[in-house]
Symmetry: C2
Subunit: 260 residues, 2 copies
């Protein structure tokens, strides 16, 4: 543990406790924030892989030279961010995009009757291309950078309901387009195959009119209203790693948002 300012020497010599809490340490950023960032870095760089168990709070405290309570506060906040999962009596684990989380945590579209229909996908096409301006802006890419574009049609309750184009940087996901088959839950693939964990996302919604091709794919009339969802997904370190645009039929489904 290397704190921001003073106290580093004392800490390195093993009397961290005496310095950190009770002593006259200036502490630019709170200790628990520093511990949290160190742990976040391990989650981000692959030192702690998804699904694996973390050292116990006391072990982490000893390693970082802080008290168990400080480690706990850092872990609490990582748990709120869903980067780790606590299981009483067992330990603390690195969060994983299991099938359920991948499918439902980031998919806010529900059936009007309350059910969650399984969103099965049919891939319409996969190709690599130079990123266009919108993709470069969303993904913070340089001019000339390449992306994979995946077009697919997803079904809800057995009916075509979501027409979707996914754009992902080729540099981050080499060979993604050659995966056979492209799985239904891309985030699991990003995590397992490329070590990229999607931690959060931003979605921007608009109501738009269906174009001719979209109408045909979704089996609706041209000009019908569709819910357009633009999503940017961010990795643990905050980098944007995927951009997708989904056109959704909302005659029997709706998008649910909770405001606190």
């Amino acid at each position: 543990m290397m704190p921001d300012k003073a106290g580093a020497k004392a800490r390195a010599e093993g009397n961290a406790a005496a310095e950190a809490g009770h002593g006259g340490r200036p502490a630019a950023r709170p200790l628990y924030v520093q511990v949290k960032e160190l742990m976040r870095a391990r989650l981000s760089d692959g030192s702690w892989k998804p699904g694996r168990i973390l050292p116990s709070e006391f072990e982490l405290a000893a390693e970082f030279g802080v008290s168990q309570g400080t480690v706990r506060k850092a872990l609490d906040e990582l748990a709120v961010e869903r980067l780790v999962v606590r299981r009483q009596g067992k330990g603390t684990f690195v969060a994983e995009h299991d099938e359920d989380r991948a499918l439902f945590h980031f998919l806010k579209l529900l059936a009007d009757d309350g059910g969650r229909a399984l969103p099965e996908s049919r891939v319409l096409g996969v190709k690599a291309a130079r990123a266009n301006a919108a993709e470069r802006a969303a993904l913070a890419l340089e001019e000339g950078a390449k992306v994979w574009r995946i077009d697919r049609l997803r079904h809800l309750s057995g009916r075509p309901a979501i027409l979707e184009q996914v754009a992902a940087p080729e540099a981050l996901f080499p060979g993604l387009g050659k995966e056979e088959p492209v799985p239904n839950t891309l985030y699991r693939l990003y995590e397992a195959r490329y070590g990229v964990t999607v931690a959060r996302a931003e979605e921007r919604l608009k109501a738009v009119a269906a174009g001719a091709a979209e109408a045909q794919a979704l089996d609706i009339a041209p000009g019908a209203s569709l819910l357009a969802i633009d999503r940017i997904a961010f990795a643990i370190d905050g980098r944007p790693v995927e951009w997708r645009r989904s056109l959704c039929l909302t005659d029997r489904h709706h998008y649910l948002a909770e405001l606190v």
Copy 2:
């Protein structure tokens, strides 16, 4: 403080500290959760009014017969729920729907260029009526209960953009329809005039086609795509207190959602 099970007598006699943390108390629900619920009740029943300062953590701890750390944990969670606001060096305050929060915290519609245009309202009509089936379902009302219905047109960036109907139970807001004028920020009125604090809300979104009357009000073509937002607002105690349906033009605006 009346804990769930055992320890009540000891606590009432003043040695709560000895019993609660170190003793053999079974503790069905954690102490801090019980403290939190007690404080939530005070916020809900008007004992602690919006804007007022709370007793200090030590005073609350003494009153409830727990340690300051336990009160702190309860307050931390209430702060996450935005029911209280902490200000270092000053104290902890009951959260208030100030102009900004009322306008922007629950309004997720942003201009595409990133600006937040002030949503000015023009009231089209206010009337009392028996709640229809949809309103009864959303607001958990009995057959025959009455609601106020407020129709209004809201402008964003100077253009008509949101056509909205608000439904609020008459029993909860007597005389609401006679307020002159009906203010732009209803939640502030609910709070200041009726003691009802909106704590959270659920929104369900769909893309719909504009009807003739809607198209005229919004100055668009009939059949154009609109974003329909159904919102149910809940008070601190969890009761639904308002239902509103907003039809939004999204050609220059979008709805922003964050997924964690």
